[in-house]
């Protein structure tokens, strides 16, 4: 049973909708660029934890212009800090995927006591000129699956109902635009200078065949975060939690249980 928790933050300018599922100890989940999907990976986390998944500003149904209240990564970090405190989840584990991984890392670097453990799944936020992160925002829809998945047939299919399909596309496109505001045109807002501040024990998970952010970035993150571990997931592209859900689940829950 998913609950919706609306939290008004940022001096009353913004209401962040947090989806909550499960009933164990709290865990905060930071979703990827195209919006929150309560996929089997998230459901699996909810079997052990109370998963709090804040919807990125602008991506909640019926409130698309909330994104205009937030200007930069600094604003975002402060919004999420208020949200996590508002959930009484301060110090809990956090899991972030792709864009959400960047965001979780930014919060953890700014507030070193925000999370007890940190899991980053193919996070964005660093840039190497010899391994440029591919541009997913301007990619043709037909090319996107090949960019995101090792095996493009792993991509979720659109709803058969035309009206539902239009809604799904419009909302994924808008979510990509909302999150894109904070990483366009190069997903590097200086995170490399801040990662050393992260105090939480950190696991970096990477899809071995990630074509969006190549697996070489795993070492870039590991070397900047004290004590960080790396788990490489075979036969997976940029979204191991979708493409190899069970393997990603094992790596994450194993790390969090230790």
């Amino acid at each position: 049973m998913t609950r919706d928790i609306p939290l008004t933050v940022f001096g009353g300018r913004l209401t962040v909708h947090v989806k909550a599922l499960g009933d164990g100890d709290p865990l905060v989940y930071f979703h990827p660029a195209a919006g929150l999907a309560l996929d089997p990976f998230v459901q699996g986390l909810a079997a052990r934890y109370t998963v709090y998944a804040p919807e990125f500003p602008g991506t909640s149904a019926g409130d698309p212009y909330a994104v205009h209240q937030v200007d930069d990564v600094w604003d975002l970090v402060l919004v999420y800090e208020e949200v996590i405190r508002g959930l009484s989840a301060w110090g809990c584990p956090a899991v972030g995927a792709s864009f959400g991984g960047m965001l979780a890392a930014e919060v953890a670097a700014t507030f070193p006591d925000a999370f007890g453990r940190l899991v980053l799944l193919d996070p964005l936020g660093l840039w190497r000129a010899d391994q440029p992160v591919a541009d997913w925002v301007s990619a043709a829809p037909a090319d996107l699956a090949a960019l995101l998945y090792h095996d493009a047939t792993a991509a979720p299919v659109l709803p058969a109902d035309p009206a539902a399909a239009i809604e799904a596309i419009a909302s994924a496109v808008w979510s990509t635009g909302c999150t894109g505001k904070f990483v366009w045109p190069i997903p590097d807002r200086g995170l490399a200078k801040r990662l050393h501040r992260i105090a939480a024990r950190t696991l970096i998970v990477w899809g071995e065949q990630d074509r969006l952010a190549p697996v070489g970035y795993a070492e870039e993150f590991r070397s900047r975060i004290a004590g960080a571990e790396v788990a490489i997931i075979p036969d997976s592209g940029h979204l191991p939690q979708v493409e190899q859900s069970a393997a990603a689940q094992r790596a994450v829950t194993g790390f969090l249980a230790r």
């Binding site: 698309p64 994104v67 205009h68 200007d71 925002v137 301007s138 990619a139 043709a140 239009i166 809604e167 596309i169 419009a170 909302s171 496109v173 808008w174 990509t176 635009g177 909302c178 894109g180 505001k181 904070f182 366009w184 045109p185």
Partner: protein, 406 residues
């Protein structure tokens, strides 16, 4: 009706199969060019526009593209300033209309205000400024602006430019996209209280509403096929105006149309057909849809509307292999004898209330001598029949020196 000659600086010698091998912007390999042919494109552009001025066109227009062989003009004000000087020196009383200085793209709106003011000064009050929100690929990829930020940047830039032109005193500007401790541009425009402004758009209701709220003109480019899109877009425009309680004056509305005039309809097809095909196939036809619509650049409600009904995009998805006949049928081009062209434009303008025609008479691979003939034929045999249209209205979006009543 005001008749303005519009021209671009396209690279005219792209390979036959270009549209099946390359994109027409952002990634196009420069190795396809020779320096001599690139140089010739600018000479042609200037000569064609000056020929238009000598033939009696009311204005000369150019726009902005970047990282593209379709139109190698990164800033229309560069061409406009050269024309401002030459036409003033030669005593040619034409409006100078840079229609494409995108304010959603520009990171230097104060410079835009100053450039435009300079053109107004050099032309002694003949500037008609045109500010589009911005093409997605150009603003976002060529210039690095997040798609979601383009419209906000446009609106802030427009406020800033209009104030920079008119505020007699230096002022501080604390914007969301730019901060300036003292805005005090030199020169200031000659036209008072400010030069006329038109906003270029492709049909977004919000852009249209902005023009009514601020009493600016609206310019629509008919490249998607005006027979398919024009009715929808123009009717929407006037409906929004009606809701805003604004009286209908056709001079608010400008329309850009690709036009090819010859002695007969058959001659037009023979002379212009393959050059029209070159223009559409190797320009819009070789552009991925994402290049004109990036996530965040179009409001979520706009995305829904486009997915349900992509009619505003006309025949853009068929441009890659479009034939002259298809392009003519869709209204992407009006081609034929002077009578055919005259009747087509007069009927379209009367039906939709178009007060300013931006006539694109050079396009694609059309050689300079054919372009010159197209300009001459239009000026001599088409223009006289159109000039009288809307004589009962005052033109509030046109320079006073040229008969406007701003």
């Amino acid at each position: 009706m005001k008749l303005i000659l519009f021209a671009q600086a396209p690279y005219q010698h792209l390979p036959e199969d270009f549209e099946h091998r390359f994109e027409s912007a952002v990634t196009t390999p420069y190795s396809l060019t020779t320096a001599e042919r690139v140089c010739a494109a600018y000479q042609d552009l200037m000569e064609i526009l000056l020929h238009g001025a000598r033939c009696g066109f009311d204005g000369l227009a150019m726009t902005e593209h970047s990282q593209s062989p379709s139109d190698m003009v990164p800033n229309p004000d560069l061409i406009a300033s050269a024309l401002a000087y030459v036409t003033e020196a030669a005593g040619l009383d034409v409006a100078i209309c840079p229609v494409g200085r995108s304010l959603g793209k520009s990171r230097e709106p104060v410079r835009v205000a100053e450039e435009c003011a300079m053109i107004d000064v050099m032309s002694r009050g003949r500037l008609v400024a045109g500010f589009p929100v911005g093409l997605a690929y150009d603003a976002c990829i060529n210039n690095g602006i997040p798609p979601l930020a383009v419209r906000g940047r446009f609106e802030e830039g427009l406020d800033l430019v209009l104030r920079a032109w008119q505020d007699p005193h230096p002022f501080a500007w604390n914007g969301r996209h730019g901060q300036y401790p003292s805005v005090n541009i030199w020169p200031r425009p000659v036209q008072q209280p400010r030069p006329p402004v038109s906003i270029t758009g492709i049909g977004n209701p919000r852009t249209m509403a902005t023009t009514f709220e601020r009493d600016l003109g609206f310019t629509y480019f008919g490249w998607f096929g005006a027979n398919l899109t024009g009715g929808r877009v123009f009717e929407r425009f006037w409906e929004i105006g009606e809701r805003a309680g604004v009286a209908r004056n056709p001079y608010r509305l400008s329309f850009l149309q690709t036009i090819a005039v010859a002695e007969t309809d058959e001659q037009a097809a023979r002379d212009y057909g393959r050059h029209v095909e070159y223009f559409f196939r190797k320009n819009l036809g070789a552009l991925r849809p994402e290049m004109i619509a990036l996530p965040g650049g179009i409001d979520i409600n706009g995305v829904r509307a486009l997915l349900r009904d992509p009619g505003d995009l006309g025949m853009v998805d068929k441009m890659r292999d479009a034939t002259f006949d298809q392009l003519r049928a869709a209204g992407a081009v009006i081609a034929g004898s002077p009578e055919t062209v005259r009747d087509g434009i007069a009927q379209f303008a009367a039906e939709y209330g178009i007060g300013n025609l931006y006539a694109q008479l050079s396009f694609g691979s059309l050689p300079r001598d054919l372009a010159m003939r197209n300009v001459s034929l239009f000026a001599e045999q088409v223009a006289p029949a159109l000039r009288g249209l809307w004589a009962e209205h005052d033109h509030h979006w046109w320079p006073r020196r040229l008969g406007g009543a701003p």
